[in-house]
């Protein structure tokens, strides 16, 4: 294993057999299915998958901010404020709009969204919104909060912060907006920060800066970072550990090196193959055949089967495979590796 293992000692958050459903009149969308995932203190975890694979909903369920009509249908989310052996708070049992959960969101957890333009209020200044977060998280008065907010804006690299603080979002550039969003998320000095596609809506040239900023801040604040993205490049740049999602299932979990060097699930393999390699002379783009299933579709057997080249008739079309640990800390949900499991027994 790698050196990164050290960081993954203290468990902070655990998802256990998590199911999130969205009930519409036309039917139920099962956005997250049977998700098991541990998040450790101080680590940076990458959650990767196509859009609609349930990454964001997974993150929202941890923070108790799943939009209606979504709800946790089954399973638990635990939070360990003092490590795995200490106190355990079952987040999935808390009222998401109740006081206790709100305090946790104000002080312990935070999230950065994809589109700062729409994730920030268009009619309030960024200062107003950061100060609000600050005052919810710490017992400071408005003036102190404002001073802190200016400091924070400087820290995330906004020049002339004392002036910019009174700007509206539509007067800021995309990069500056995202920095303001990050400042707001850090206002409560959270233990756990979710970054939901933080660079997707930003100019390519600025993306690297934002990622670097996030990495540095994560170290400074000593927080856990959950980086949600569809972009393996981002994962490679930021994450130490990776979970791959497909159609609501976490299909593979491993350390970064293992994911890139020894991908197991056919979907992960496909993802990695589809990264364009500029060194290769053959510039043909590789993609995974087929499309993501319709949200209402119920697929018999493995959800990836319709797009999988290696699917085995009589096995893959029966039920969704369960999780197997193929090597240490490398989990996969695929029937191709069932024999390995059997061998172990």
């Amino acid at each position: 294993m790698t050196a990164a293992v050290k960081k993954t000692d203290t468990k902070l958050i655990e998802l256990s057999n998590l199911h999130v459903n969205f009930k519409y009149r036309q039917g139920t969308v099962r956005a997250v299915k049977e998700a098991n995932l541990d998040i450790f203190s101080g680590e940076s975890l990458g959650l990767v998958g196509e859009s609609g694979s349930g990454k964001s909903v997974t993150a929202q369920s941890i923070l108790g901010i799943i939009p209606t009509p979504g709800e946790i249908a089954e399973g638990e989310i635990y939070y360990f404020p003092e490590g795995e052996d200490g106190k355990r708070i079952t987040l999935s049992d808390l009222k998401s709009k109740g006081k206790e959960f709100r305090h946790l969101r104000a002080r312990k957890f935070s999230i950065i969204f994809q589109e700062p333009m729409s994730a920030l209020s268009p009619i309030h200044t960024i200062g107003n919104q950061i100060i609000e977060a600050m005052m919810l998280a710490r017992s400071v008065n408005k003036k102190e909060a404002r001073n802190e907010a200016v400091k924070l804006l400087r820290k995330v690299g906004i020049p002339k912060a004392e002036e910019r603080i009174d700007e509206y979002t539509f007067n800021l550039s995309g990069g500056m907006r995202q920095r303001a969003m990050i400042a707001m998320a850090l206002a409560g000095e959270p233990e756990f920060l979710i970054a939901d596609e933080p660079t997707t809506a930003i100019d390519v040239t600025i993306q690297a800066q934002i990622l670097e900023l996030l990495e540095n801040l994560q170290k400074d604040f000593g927080m856990s970072l959950m980086m949600i993205t569809h972009d393996l490049g981002v994962i490679a740049a930021v994450a130490e550990r990776v979970a791959v999602m497909y159609n609501g299932y976490i299909v593979e979990k491993a350390f970064l090196e293992n994911i890139f060097n020894n991908p197991l699930h056919p979907y992960t393999k496909g993802l990695i193959n589809s990264i364009p390699d500029i060194k290769k002379t053959d510039r043909k783009l590789v993609s995974i055949e087929g499309v993501v299933p319709h949200p209402y579709a119920r697929i018999k057997g493995c959800d990836f089967r319709p797009r999988c080249e290696k699917s085995i008739e009589g096995i893959c079309d029966q039920s969704f495979p369960s999780e197997i640990e193929c090597e240490k800390d490398h989990f996969v949900r695929c029937y191709l590796y069932n024999e390995l499991e059997d061998d172990k027994k």
Binding site: I65, K97, R102, H103, F113
Partner: protein
């Protein structure tokens, strides 16, 4: 920037008023003939002999108001009279200058319309809020149904039903804006109280359809806003749900709600014309109708023109209000 915005709006407003004045004058000129021809026809129909004296008087009137002149000449003298001297022309039906008739009635029409506007806002806002936040709840369905019903009843019909019920239940005929003993009296405290007692009938009649429409506007806007990512952001900060709703989505959904003045005011003024006629209010409704039917063109034209001006001014006010509460418009 804000100043520029207001100036720009003002200029547009003046331009629109100019167009409206032409349209108003054109429309009332549409019927063939004029009031004096109609008047003469009426006299002879009644079997009266048209004496040279009458003819002379009519010729003098025709001369004075240039009734035989081409359109643009008549328009020009009418509009310059308004702008320079506040002279809106002469009402042949009433035998008096138009300006002596219109202001009091216009004031009452405006009072009723604006009261209905506030009534609609005050009723629609909490209902729309509730319906959006508790979407698909039983009260939401009930409000939605009553909203549809409110939209489907022509306001004159509602006035008739209220008239009938008022008589049947209380033996009172809801009409007019003050009791007969106050008619023609100067405004006193008693008259004002009496006025308020009469005001609610036209306000409810006029306000119902608007309220129904506004509930839908508020509900739909708020539902849209509730889906926006900034709501989730605010939730992720740990803000309490009620404060969050009021500070973000409601605050933003209020803007399109305010901008409904743009169509609510013309809609209410329109309705007031009819309701005023049904309830025989001392407003412009009944007088406008008579003047149109009798081709009393200066009176009718002035009413149509001033109603247009009122809506332009109303829209202007709502634009300024909107810019005050919404920085996006201010900086545009």
């Amino acid at each position: 920037m804000f100043f520029d915005y207001i100036v720009r709006r003002l200029l547009i407003g003046v331009f629109i008023i100019f167009i409206i004045s032409i349209i108003s004058f054109f429309i009332i000129q549409l019927p063939p003939g004029d009031y004096l021809t109609t008047y003469l026809a009426e006299l002879s129909a009644e079997g009266q002999r048209i004496t040279p004296a009458v003819e002379q008087r009519i010729d003098a009137l025709r001369e004075r108001y240039g009734l035989g002149d081409p359109f643009h000449v008549q328009y020009f003298s009418w509009i310059t009279g308004i702008i320079l001297r506040g002279d809106f022309g002469y009402s042949f039906q009433w035998n008096s200058p138009v300006s002596a008739i219109i202001w009091g009635r216009l004031g009452l029409t405006l009072t009723i319309s604006v009261s209905s506007l506030f009534f609609s806002w005050i009723v629609a806002f909490p209902i729309g809020f509730y319906s959006a936040v508790k979407q698909y709840s039983i009260p939401d369905y009930i409000f939605t149904f009553f909203g549809f019903l409110g939209l489907s009843i022509p306001n004159f019909l509602l006035a008739l039903v209220l008239l009938f019920l008022g008589y049947q239940q209380f033996g009172v005929v809801f009409s007019g804006l003050y009791s007969s003993e106050f008619a023609g009296e100067p405004w006193t405290r008693e008259k004002f109280v009496d006025f308020l007692r009469h005001l609610w009938v036209p306000v409810i009649v006029l306000g119902t359809a608007g309220t129904a429409a506004l509930i839908r506007v508020m509900r739909n806007n708020l539902l849209d806003e509730l889906q926006k990512p900034y709501v989730m952001t605010a939730r992720s900060k740990g803000l309490s749900e009620f404060r969050l709703l009021l500070k973000y989505p409601v605050r933003i959904a209020i803007n399109p709600f305010l901008s409904t003045v743009g169509w609510m005011l013309p809609f209410l003024l329109s309705g007031e014309i009819i309701v005023g006629t049904v309830l025989s209010l001392p407003t412009i409704g009944p007088v406008l109708l008579e003047s149109l039917l009798g081709q009393d063109m200066y009176l009718a034209g002035s009413f149509v023109f001033l109603l247009g001006v009122l809506t332009v001014v109303g829209t202007l006010i709502s634009d300024i209000l909107l810019a005050l509460v919404d920085p996006r418009i201010r900086y545009d």
